[in-house]
């Protein structure tokens, strides 16, 4: 038999350690006892999961593999030491190695009856559902006056004590045999058939059918048509896969989506019950991922880190150049933040835009730009600015009724929109050469995407949230997903290898040149990919609050529990990889908050997310509080000043302008209480606990401003619809982390630069992982332009450097 002995304290000197060491020696002919120490176990912290760390994994594996566990506990303050609490908490959080494990408790203390209270507490702890050990009853072994109990060899002096310990231990060996019988897997039989159950989704219940044969789960099919495309997919493909592959309900939930993960597992459990089986048996089975896998090694031309928009684009370009590419993606499905994007991508395409009528306020905005003083423009932009002034002048003089645009307007707005000063007084604005590349080549990116298979809605030119101009090219189909779907198909059809659940952990660096990456596979195996060059396209660090706080120089405060609109995968991995190769960083202090996010999840496209022309923001008193056309920063600050939570008010017509939603989704959200709807404004106000008179008055005034085309209160100057047609809606919103502008320093060829401004051989970066372009503030719709433009450059250059101007 093999036992693990745990020393219940991290103290340097411990009688409990001596007791275990004595037991190990004394019982060596009966059983093998391996002693584990708590010294290196980190303090349990729910918000900093370290279940994957070496030490916690070591405890997990050793306990899982042992026939039984002996815990020797001191008594501290009438209970067990915190160090012992801590390891038991880790072992009950995401890992549960104690489940059904036979345990023997012993204790040594100075006091004659010492550790009796600690032993009682320990029994209660081990009995908690997350731990669920099988503790041997009775046979309390308490070693009192421990300081006198051992001789110089570490042997127990008293023969009587040794006899009693022996009898306890013999009993434990028998107990272990019997208790482990309970752990032998039971047979499971189903009444074959397909069972209809539901899984819990973000927007309400999802129909799910589970097909069972006599003794197997054959198929799980979930109807996800009401879910946000792309995001929830991870849960709804990966969890069923794991369940079927391992014939188990013991599957890891997906980080960032635990509710929906459990929803699927519980749904399958219900189906198993309906078929006359016991789901508990399936929950006790080993995980599919515990099946050990051999390490893997690959060789290719280019390896791309991250399968978001930038990464897939780069991969597509490598293929276009006739080379091989492997894309390593951290998550179970590609898409990253790109799949979450609202869709419109900015590119100046005057020929197309001129076909649309100008809307009220646009001429005014152009005039404002034209009237800016040259002194207020940074020197490198002045030539362009002067040319733009002339273009605008000509347009205004001709009394143009059409929508104006030009590459120069795009460039100057990107520059002006990104100019910010942080709390320390450092000014930042977009690096001219990068901004020029973006604004000159974004339209080519649109054209290129069309070739790849993305079709755009030519009948509408939109202004994305947080943008300054209507130059958004909106793809047909489900928004951000449309790009990813087309790009993924393109690269797979053309022979790329896309490896999901393969987070890159290290760069292979030799003599300062990059030769590939080392990643970890889904089952913990090491994956080595050798390549001529590496493209980092792993996105920003919006989901890494620690990192945000570390670099932040812009916001007065970032809350520990701030929500984010980002995918949980976006944790700055590429920036850290770059740093490991000596890369320089730029603009890291600047992050962007999305003022209009779901207060509970940080998501953007819940409720009615409409173009800003149709935003009517009211605070918790029912009053407007800001020019809804303000920059994200202004909206965020105004929201914070108004207690963070606020509402977007809409009517039935405004509803039709919302992105990424459908009537079914809205109905489900109203039902779930995350969106408010009422036939009257008064009723809506009551639901929000707002004074009806105040809200009605606010809307009345707003409607009159729409008619007048100007807003004397907050200066909103671009309007679309009024609020008139029932039913009325209120969408609750709060600011959340949305984008990180800072990142790796790159040149116009996407080469990553070191601190001396030199190219790091073989290393490229594109997309949100790189900095310098958006500077202090990214305009809405500019990211998509960025990732597809610089993604293309990275793909081409990683094969063979080309010069672009």
């Amino acid at each position: 038999m093999k036992f693990i002995g745990i020393v219940g304290t991290n103290a340097a000197k411990s009688y409990n350690r001596m007791l275990l060491q004595f037991m190990k020696k004394h019982f060596s002919d009966k059983a093998e006892i391996e002693i584990l120490e708590l010294t290196d176990v980190p303090m349990f912290d729910e918000s900093d999961d370290q279940s994957d760390s070496d030490i916690i994994q070591m405890f997990n594996t050793k306990i899982s593999d042992a026939d039984g566990v002996i815990i020797a506990t001191p008594e501290h303050n009438h209970s067990v030491p915190s160090a012992l609490n801590s390891i038991l908490e880790w072992m009950s959080f995401n890992l549960h190695p104690f489940d059904g494990k036979p345990v023997m408790i012993v204790g040594a203390s100075l006091h004659p009856q010492g550790s009796s209270r600690a032993q009682l507490h320990l029994r209660q702890i081990l009995d908690a559902p997350g731990v669920n050990a099988t503790v041997m009853p009775g046979s309390e072994f308490l070693l009192g006056q421990a300081q006198k109990a051992f001789d110089d060899n570490g042997d127990l002096k008293s023969e009587g004590t040794v006899d009693f310990l022996e009898s306890c231990f013999t009993k434990f060996q028998r107990f272990t045999e019997i208790a482990n019988l309970l752990n032998v897997p039971e047979d499971l039989n189903f009444k074959p058939g397909t069972f209809e159950v539901t899984a819990k989704g973000h927007n309400g219940d999802l129909p799910m059918s589970v097909t069972l044969s006599k003794d197997r789960i054959e198929d799980i099919d979930i109807d996800t048509s009401t879910e946000t495309k792309g995001i929830a997919d991870v849960v709804f493909t990966r969890i069923p896969q794991e369940i079927v592959k391992g014939q188990t309900l013991n599957v890891d939930v997906i980080s960032g989506a635990s509710i929906t993960s459990h929803g699927v597992i519980d749904g399958v459990a219900r189906a198993v019950k309906m078929a006359g089986g016991n789901p508990e048996i399936l929950k006790k089975r080993p995980k599919a991922s515990n099946i050990v896998q051999k390490d893997e090694e690959y060789t290719t031309d280019v390896v791309v880190v991250g399968a978001g928009g930038a990464g897939l684009t780069a991969a597509a370009k490598v293929l276009d150049e006739g080379k091989n590419v492997i894309v390593a993606e951290k998550f179970p499905s590609p898409g990253g933040n790109t799949v979450r994007a609202g869709g419109p991508m900015n590119a100046a395409d005057p020929e197309w835009q001129n076909k649309f009528d100008a809307i009220p306020g646009e001429a005014h905005r152009l005039k404002e730009i034209k009237d800016m003083k040259l002194d207020d423009i940074d020197p490198e932009y002045r030539d362009d600015f002067k040319k733009l002034q002339k273009q605008i002048g000509d347009y205004l003089d001709s009394d143009g009724k059409y929508l104006f645009d030009s590459k120069l307007l795009f460039r100057i707005q990107t520059y002006l929109g990104g100019k910010r000063t942080d709390l320390q007084g450092n000014e930042i604005h977009g690096q001219y050469d990068l901004v020029k590349i973006l604004t000159d080549h974004a339209l080519e990116s649109v054209k290129w995407l069309e070739k790849v298979g993305v079709s755009f809605d030519k009948n509408e030119v939109t202004m994305p949230v947080g943008a300054l101009w209507r130059r958004g090219h909106k793809p047909m189909g489900p928004e951000g997903f449309a790009y990813i779907q087309a790009l993924q198909k393109y690269i797979e059809d053309n022979g790329a290898k896309l490896m999901t659940e393969t987070p890159v952990k290290e760069l292979i660096i030799e003599d300062g040149k990059i030769y590939g990456v080392i990643a970890r596979g889904a089952n913990g195996q090491k994956i080595t990919i050798h390549a001529e060059s590496v493209v980092l396209a792993s996105g920003g660090y919006g989901a890494n609050t620690k990192m945000l706080k570390k670099y932040n120089t812009y916001w007065t405060e970032i809350d520990d529990d701030i929500q984010t609109s980002n995918s949980p995968a976006i944790t700055g991995d590429g920036i850290k990889l770059g740093l490991s190769a000596g890369a320089d960083l730029v603009g890291m202090g600047f992050s962007q908050m999305m003022p209009v996010s779901d207060p509970d999840t940080g998501e953007l496209f819940t409720g009615l997310q409409v173009p800003p022309a149709n935003f009517i923001m009211v605070n918790q008193q029912g009053k407007r509080f800001v020019n809804e056309y303000g920059s994200r920063d202004q909206l965020t600050q105004a929201a914070i000043d108004n207690g963070s939570l606020f509402y977007l008010i809409a009517d039935d017509e405004i509803k039709k302008t919302a992105y990424n939603t459908s009537q079914e989704k809205l109905d489900a959200q109203v039902k779930a209480g995350t969106l408010f709807r009422d036939d009257t404004l008064e009723g809506l106000a009551k639901q929000l606990k707002i004074d009806p008179e105040v809200l009605v008055d606010t809307i009345k005034k707003y409607n009159s401003y729409v008619d007048a085309g100007s807003d004397p209160e907050f200066g909103k100057d671009v309007f679309d619809l009024k609020v008139v047609k029932a039913p009325f809606y209120a969408t609750p919103r709060k600011p959340a982390v949305h984008h990180t502008m800072g990142g790796l320093k790159i040149d116009t060829g996407t080469h990553v630069l070191n601190k001396d401004g030199e190219i790091i051989d073989g290393l490229y970066a594109a997309g949100e992982v790189a900095g310098g372009l958006h500077a202090g503030n990214r305009l809405g719709g500019n990211s998509l332009a960025d990732i597809f433009t610089f993604g293309r450059i990275a793909g081409e250059n990683s094969v063979e450097d080309k010069v672009l101007d």
Partner: protein
């Protein structure tokens, strides 16, 4: 009166923190409550020299000078969380500021039970000779279903629970006064607890 409220967990999201924040706001006219966090405090490791790390000493000083302490504890595996336990070990092992300090225990948990088992353990722990706090007897404030318990303003939404908490808090104010009376003549026992040692006890030293 000046109290400190100890958040019994190091988690960034905690309804026990919210509970204390609510108490701080709701009782601001009756008492000043300073909220103390235990996140990031070093883990207890029983150093030979019995010297508290700086951060622990700072907390100890706060406990020492407060008129009373409110501990809000979650429940992990039927007991108090390791990080809270660790702080108590430090304080009992070094400066012992809890001796005779009036303590009110509150707790919030997601389930129905509201951390009752953890509160039971915490009472036993605070009764250990080197802690010997004066824990308010019988009154137990358990907040179940705590995830749904607070609105966006951080206000407790269950009206009956607010009333119950108000009663508990008034009792605690009274209890602090009474305890003060009690311990005036109690310096001998206090001294004994300050000098308590398990080594000595086991040798038949001080009781």
């Amino acid at each position: 009166m000046k109290f400190i409220g100890i958040v019994g967990t190091n988690a960034t999201k905690s309804t026990n923190r919210k509970l204390l924040q609510f108490m701080q706001k709701h009782f601001s006219k009756k008492a000043e409550i300073e909220i103390c966090e235990i996140k990031g405090l070093p883990a207890f490791n029983q150093p030979e020299n019995r010297i508290a790390p700086e951060e622990i000493q700072a907390l100890s000083d706060k406990v020492e000078s407060a008129d009373g302490v409110i501990i809000a504890t979650p429940e992990y595996d039927h007991t108090v969380p390791a990080p809270l336990k660790s702080v108590l070990e430090w304080l009992s092992y070094t400066s012992r500021p809890f001796i005779d300090k009036p303590v009110m225990i509150v707790g919030a948990s997601y389930g129905a039970l509201g951390s009752s088992r953890a509160q039971g353990h915490l009472r036993q722990i605070l009764d250990a000779p080197e802690l010997k706090a004066r824990v308010m007897p019988s009154e137990e404030f358990l907040l179940g279903h705590s995830l749904q318990a607070f609105d966006d303003n951080g206000d407790l939404v269950y009206a009956d629970k607010v009333t119950e908490l108000e009663e508990c808090f008034d009792q605690f104010l009274l209890f602090v006064d009474i305890t003060d009376q009690l311990i005036k003549n109690h310096s001998f026992q206090t001294e004994k607890n300050k000098n308590f040692s398990w080594e000595k006890v086991s040798e038949g030293g001080n009781n």
